[in-house]
Amino acid sequence: MRLEDTKKTFDHLLHEMNKVIVGMDEVLKQMIVSLLTNSHAILEGYPGLAKTLSIKTMAQLLSLKFSRIQNTPDLMPSDITGTYIIEETTGGKRTFKFQPGPVFANVILADEINRATPKTQSALLEAMQEKQVTVGNSTFKLEEPFFVLATQNPIEQEGTYPLPEAQSDRFLFKIRTDYPTYEQEIEIVNRYAEEEKRVSLKPVLSRDELIYLQSLTRQVPIASDIKKYAVSLVTSTRQKKDMIEYGASPRASIGLVLAAKGRALLEGRKYVSKQDINLMALPVLRHRIILSFEAERQNLHEDDVIKQLLK
């Protein structure tokens, strides 16, 4: 793939996704940026907002191994990582053989991740951070690229286990899905409530092409001033004590600059713009800050406070 063709590839990818998904351009772009930066993303939104569908659609467009983990309170860590099973040979000899779990794939859809118990959630932790899985005494390397695209529902309180800060920090993005506009909803109804049309999706990106794009993302140059602006933004979350109790970590600075690079490449630019930082600040920072009592008393959300910082 030539450098000049990257923009066309992304446009084609988005075009194919839009055949299935209606009016979620920004969400889809953030998901692609997550892929480009070789990072994980969590999609949060109310039920019925096509979170799972958009991840499944993306997985279909990539020639990668896809697996889905439907999180429930009775899900065990070994259901994710895999386990040793006894295998009997033809000679009657029994041996332990490792049976890989769904985590051994390139794209993992961890659906309703906050419904899994903390023990099961943390089974994903090593896989997400180290890109490896340890079962018993053996450690298994996961195949590159490896993404976890999780979904969670913000209104379910009963029987849910909110992700601990350490684990939510592993996700580069917390992507918020919102309700569609009236016109978009009409289009959704037209597509899915009338005659059933099967949309055939063909892979747009191969594994090698994706790895190449990931390497290109890291090569996108950034001006020192813009880099300083990104870091200042992250550090300001630690200084705004009246609104934020706990600010974002340096991992957020790395993530913000990397995400901005991915966004620039997605837009077909060869440099990072200040606008890229501003666009990526919300999904990168919103799950990394804990609001103060004062902010909650004023009924402010994470996004409101980040927007204040951006001003």
Partner: protein, 263 residues
């Protein structure tokens, strides 16, 4: 390898901006200098006094302008096509990869379209040149016809007088001045000079200097010894006996005669 051309191009842009900035600052300073000169001429003050405000303004104005304009953000502001790209390229000249090289080529291509005129404000330049011409003509006219609105030195002198007020005691400055006098007639023997030339502050005690008339004695007659020589004789000077050529003897003779007459 495109890194070297981009470094050279960035240097060239910086130099061009610097030259234009200095030119603009010089022009601004010149306008100020001429206006100040005109004002000084009209107030009968030396025109070269205008060098002081002009030098001060020139120094500060140039420093501020160079500080403000000698960066690539200024170039990007003037050339929107290179927005955010120029600084990114300048900050990443040490990196070499596909994207950086491609960006460098884009920037080099974009820089070809950059013209010096982007950094010149023609409206302002025209206004300044017109001002320079008008003020120069005024200076020549005023100087040629000796036009003066007021004599600033007179005004200062008047103000000085006014400042003293009507009841102030005017002490003659001359009486307070120390004057070194070389005449022996007044101060007597030269050995007095051993005291040096420093000003001596003397205070006369009125008690000691008062004259008591009762103690004044009548004048005393003094007798002086005569010291006249017994014999007086005159001799000719050596120069008189010199061998003077005949042609000049008459001239010399008449010269001495004339001297004798005047004495």
């Amino acid at each position: 390898m495109v890194t070297k051309p981009i470094i050279a191009a960035l240097k060239e842009v910086r130099n061009a901006v610097m030259q234009i900035t200095l030119f603009n600052a010089l022009l601004d300073t010149l306008v100020l200098f001429l206006i100040c000169s005109l004002v000084l001429i009209l107030t009968s003050l030396p025109w070269w006094y205008a060098l002081v405000p002009a030098a001060l303004y020139g120094g500060i104005h140039t420093y501020r302008n160079v500080k403000k304009h000698h960066n690539l953000a200024y170039v990007e502001e003037k050339v929107p096509e290179l927005q955010e790209q120029l600084i990114t390229v300048a900050d990443n000249t040490d990196k070499e990869n596909v994207i950086v090289q491609s960006l460098q080529q884009d920037v080099l291509r974009g820089m070809r379209s950059v013209k010096t005129s982007y950094f010149l404000s023609f409206g302002r330049l025209a206004r300044e040149l017109i001002t320079l011409t008008v003020v120069s003509i005024l200076i020549i006219t005023v100087s040629a016809h000796g036009v003066r609105f007021l004599d600033f030195r007179d005004v200062l002198r008047d103000l000085e007088t006014l400042g003293k007020g009507p009841g102030a005691y005017e002490l003659a400055n001359a009486s307070l001045e120390f004057i070194e006098n070389m005449s022996e007639d007044i101060y007597g023997n030269k050995t007095i000079e051993e005291l040096g030339n420093d000003e001596i502050q003397l205070q006369l005690s009125p008690v000691l200097s008062d004259i008591d008339i009762s103690k004044v004695n009548p004048p005393e007659s003094k007798e002086f010894m005569s010291t006249m020589p017994k014999e007086i004789k005159a001799t000719t000077d050596v120069s008189f006996q010199e061998s003077i050529p005949k042609g000049y003897q008459r001239i010399v003779k008449s010269y001495f005669r004339e001297i004798a007459k005047t004495s």
